[in-house]
């Protein structure tokens, strides 16, 4: 079973992460390899082409498309101000003069004598790419971006919404099985990332928005509350661009599910420290999971810790059950029978035995567990 593989989420006190920061189109990289950066440092910049506004001049002037060059005041690639004359006819009587003015400022992108169309392009918009995490530049990808590296504590969530942000971690509950109720959210949490426990009710989401909390990390929420928050029913888990006032990360799933004690303990231990979080989730090609990255500032943090590639599931591995009827329960692998077992649905599947902290155990399909990775 050299290649055996079970999906897992990483929760680790110390690791080295590298994050590629790539512009959506070629631009300029502003930093050098080895340079130390902060999460809000601009590492690269690009100009997003402006909006295109098509104008059918031939129609507006009542002429054939191949005649439009005779009427144009502005030429291709020339700049134009809003309301400036783009084209005009030259009648014998000036009262009948028709002037076509530019509806936008920008440049004349193209002139077509086939369609009689002129395309105007608005000025480009500057896009600045931030570093996202405190760290050092490990690699520069010319014209595209950089790779930032940092030694940190890392928690991967299962699902999130909202974009990248950074701020101080605060803990809003005293235990991982406590829900993060609205009254737990206080004004001093403004601009901070609040760690909750098992559940985030809709009222707490509203309260978080009022206060100005920038991030929430909790075990679970109800799908109906997510729908209310977004204003639509999320069909496919591709997120990261939502603008609901904060970034939300679920560590366990949907429903009321206590946060894994290991996750809660790790996040609690770093209360008061700065973290970078991203809610972006994409459960398709090139899967992206939401994450909480807490850069380490201790003197030893310069030493690189490499991620050890896990060689399949093993006895003693900490696991989370990720399907009903025991969804959210956490235990350790206590048996790995190789033969197929029939489950109540009558399917014959590979299973494993999980022992819980209270000493009880159960047998579940291997597909229905997730390894909690990270030493």
């Amino acid at each position: 079973m050299a290649h055996s593989y079970t999906p897992g989420l990483t929760v680790t006190e110390r690791t080295t992460v590298r994050r590629k920061r790539i512009l959506p189109l070629p631009g300029t990289v502003l930093v050098k390899v080895g340079e130390a950066i902060h999460a809000d440092t601009t590492v690269a910049r690009a100009e997003l082409p402006g909006k295109v506004v098509p104008l059918n001049l031939a129609n507006q002037l009542g002429i054939a498309p191949d005649e439009i060059n005779d009427y144009l005041v502005k030429k291709e690639k020339e700049s134009v101000q809003k309301d400036e004359v783009l084209a005009e006819n030259k009648p014998f009587i000036s009262w009948f003069k028709t002037e076509i003015r530019s509806p936008v400022g920008g440049t004349v992108e193209s002139i077509s004598t086939i369609t009689g169309q002129v395309l105007l392009r608005e000025p480009p918009r500057v896009l600045e790419l931030r570093g996202y995490i405190d760290g050092t530049i490990a690699e520069v990808h010319p014209e595209q971006g950089v790779t930032v590296e940092t030694t940190c504590s890392l928690v991967q969530g299962i699902f999130g919404i909202g974009g990248e942000t950074d701020g101080e971690l605060v803990v809003g509950v005293t235990a991982p099985d406590q829900p993060l109720l609205p009254e737990r959210l206080i004004p001093s949490m403004k601009g901070k990332i609040v760690i909750g426990g098992s559940f985030l009710p809709a009222a707490a989401m509203t309260r978080a928005k009022e206060i100005g909390v920038i991030g929430l990390v909790v075990g679970g929420i109800h799908d109906k509350d997510l729908r209310a928050l977004l204003g639509y029913d999320l069909g496919v888990a591709i997120t990261g661009t939502e603008q609901v006032g904060f970034t939300l990360i679920l560590t366990e799933g949907f429903g009321t599910i206590p946060m894994a004690p290991k996750t809660f303990a790790l996040l609690s231990a770093h209360a008061g420290q700065k973290a970078s979080i991203s809610g972006a989730t994409q459960i398709r090609a090139g899967v992206i999971r939401p994450e909480i990255i807490i850069p380490q500032t201790s003197p030893s943090s310069g030493a690189r810790v490499s991620l050890v590639e896990r060689e399949g599931i093993q006895l003693g591995d900490p696991v989370r059950i990720i399907r009903d009827p025991l969804f959210g329960k956490i235990g350790a692998v206590s048996g790995l029978p190789s033969e197929l077992r029939m489950i109540p649905t009558e399917s014959e599947v590979r299973v494993l035995e999980v022992r819980f902290p209270d000493g009880t155990s159960t047998v579940v399909p291997r597909a229905n567990i997730e390894v909690i990775e990270g030493a």
């Binding site: 189109l25 086939i114 997510l226 888990a237 799933g253 398709r284 090139g286």
Partner: protein, 618 residues
């Protein structure tokens, strides 16, 4: 058949006695081993592993190696040497249990091929372009047309934001006006479209419109895209010519798109034949079945991210890929599109909305899990029915005759309202439904697959149903391009499982009212006579090898194909499930009252032994 076009792989000259094939799905990677036993090929072992496009293994070949490693474990054959597949088979060197002769693969793991298509008139060249793209196994994310009602700047914005893998441009008949198609090219050029993968390579674009516009298209788009020219897909109004554009799409997909997805470059190098997109490979099989049997069929492959529907009616092949109708990544979208009530109508118990919504979302975020309890299985089967139903609706809307074509009418047509572009899908003419995909192939009882398809498609009259035994049609589709005999042998012996025949009278009546009298003459001389009442579901044992004569006398408002109230006699074959008489009426209507609906479902499920508890609780 849609064979892959460009191939830099050398033709395989050696005998192919041991074959390994994989399908990299969006959720799982499935591997099968095929071995020559005597003179014929048989599928012997299978392995499965999660598809590894997720960190830390952002490399699809890891999932492939994992799935093959499972075959190694089960078969005792050594196939892998580290990360390399041992080829050829080492029997000649005295190691009969080492190596394989060929490795082939299909893939939809990169989220499939996402395309945007453009035409001039939306329901003419726009639809032809859509059919060409769908036929090549693509997911069409938008159809832009000169008359689509969107303002020019909206079209440009749309092109900029969608980030397709490829664009197909069509429009205009050869020799016709070039203005509109050039206008669309100007919009595309202005949008400066960026591909989904890779920020530096140019977006592949196939131009298959009016050939007279090719010089202008080259001028406008030649520098901004990886432009390929193909023959016009609608050279004249009355004819479609989709093959050249489809072939170009295939080529560009292999050359550009696949290589950008995580690990595909390695996968392409590992495989001994070009990688085929999964829907294209399944399409090959479906077309082959229809051609070989001379029948009209509907095929479906319900996957994790998409549901692909195939049909062959009157020899015309159509394929649609319904993006975001699947059983794992996009399961939540099935809920969003079908609505909770439509899903709940198939669930034989009550469950609160919040709990169901949370369960569905949890499956979405952890797509590789499997139902462990019976109620979870029943919920997934309910969702599958809706995904299948919605995908067929989508398919019907695209599998149509050509629109905008003037039809010849005779005096006998004077009083008939007939429009062009009518759907080709005729459920009364339908001979066979072929199901494939995890939820259908791996249903614990075969009757579950049969009833899911019957409930979703509501076949009319007499229809045979079959299922892909362990989900290997994609593998056989790609294999057929290198070894027809191996693909055919395995298909006939190990892949296609005939479930049986469903006879469904058309009409509606009150529960318990007479629908039809039946007289079934079985080959062993047994005769079954009785009355099928509305609301009845009856199942009779009948194998694929056996043939029964069915005579039915429907009630006067009920039709079995010969007209309302007309007697009907036919011979049918069975399958592993048998012969099912479906008296639930067509269109199928479930009671609106919840208690009555649950009671009806339990009665039906018990009548056919759908679930383990069918004989006790249900």
């Amino acid at each position: 058949m849609t064979a892959p076009h460009s191939s830099d792989k050398a033709a395989i000259e050696r005998p192919l006695n041991v074959i390994v094939a994989t399908d990299c799905g969006s959720t799982t990677t499935k591997a099968i081993l095929i071995e020559k036993v005597g003179t014929e090929y048989r599928q012997t072992y299978r392995g499965e592993a999660p598809t590894t496009v997720e960190a830390p293994f952002e490399d699809v070949t890891r999932g492939v190696l994992n799935a093959i490693a499972e075959i190694e474990e089960l078969s005792g054959r050594r196939i892998l040497d580290g990360d390399r597949i041992i080829t050829p088979n080492q029997a000649a060197q005295g190691h009969p249990d080492t190596g394989v002769d060929i490795y082939v693969s299909t893939s939809s793991a990169g989220g499939g091929l996402q395309m945007m298509v453009t035409g001039v008139v939306q329901n003419m060249t726009g639809e032809s372009a859509q059919r060409a793209a769908l036929g090549a196994g693509a997911i069409v994310i938008d159809v832009l047309a000169s008359n689509d009602g969107r303002l020019p700047y909206e079209k440009i914005e749309r092109i900029r934001t969608m980030r397709p893998d490829m664009i197909l441009m069509s429009g205009g008949t050869d020799g016709g006006a070039v203005t509109h198609v050039v206008e669309m090219a100007e919009y595309i050029a202005a949008a400066e479209p960026r591909p989904r993968f890779g920020s530096t390579f140019r977006l592949p674009l196939v131009y298959a419109g009016n050939q007279d516009a090719q010089p202008q298209i080259k001028t406008i788009l030649g520098d901004k895209t990886a432009l390929e020219l193909a023959d016009n897909i609608r050279p004249v109004l009355e004819r479609e010519n989709l093959a050249p554009a489809r072939n170009k799409i295939h080529d560009l997909f292999l050359e550009h798109v696949m290589q950008q997805a995580p690990g595909y470059k390695k996968l392409i190098e590992m495989a001994d034949a070009p990688i085929m997109p999964t829907p294209a490979a399944v399409g090959v099989i479906m077309e082959t079945i229809a051609k070989r049997e001379g029948i009209d069929l509907i095929g479906v492959d319900i996957g994790g991210a998409t549901t692909d529907v195939f049909s062959v009616f009157n020899g015309i092949f159509n394929r649609t890929v319904s993006a975001n109708l699947g059983m794992s990544y996009s399961i939540s979208n099935v809920l969003a599109e079908a609505g909770l009530d439509n899903i709940m109508r198939w669930v034989p118990f009550t469950i609160d909305e919040q709990s169901l919504r949370n369960r569905i979302k949890n499956k979405m975020v952890r797509p590789t899990t499997i139902p462990q309890t019976l109620d979870e299985l029943q919920i997934e089967h309910a969702i599958a029915r809706e995904a299948l139903r919605l995908a067929l609706i989508h398919h019907k809307s695209l599998a149509t005759g050509l629109k905008g074509v003037q039809q010849e009418r005779t005096i006998s047509d004077v009083f008939e309202q007939r429009t062009s572009g009518k759907t080709l899908i005729d459920l009364l003419k339908l001979d066979l439904i072929v199901g494939s995909g995890g939820i259908l192939s791996h249903a614990p009882r075969r009757i579950q697959s049969l009833l899911m398809m019957v409930d979703a498609y509501e076949p009319l009259g007499v229809t045979t149903l079959s299922v892909d035994s362990i989900f290997m049609m994609p593998h056989l589709g790609v294999l057929s391009t290198v070894n027809e005999q191996a693909a055919t042998d395995v298909f006939v012996r190990d892949c296609m499982v005939y479930l049986g025949t469903c006879i469904a009278p058309i009409g509606q009546g009150k529960d318990g009212e007479r629908c039809a009298d039946y007289d079934l003459a079985f080959p062993d001389g047994r005769i079954e006579k009785g009355t099928l009442a509305f609301g009845d579901l009856k199942l009779f044992a009948l194998t694929r090898e056996q043939q029964a004569t069915v005579t039915m006398q429907p009630a006067k408002q009920v039709n079995l194909g010969n007209g309302p109230g007309q007697s009907f006699t036919t011979t049918v074959r069975g399958g592993v499930v048998g012969l099912m008489l479906d008296g639930r009426g067509r269109p199928l209507q479930l009671p609106s009252d919840q208690a009555a609906r649950v009671a009806a479902l339990r009665r039906w499920y018990q009548a056919v032994g759908l679930y383990p508890t069918a004989n006790s609780e249900l």
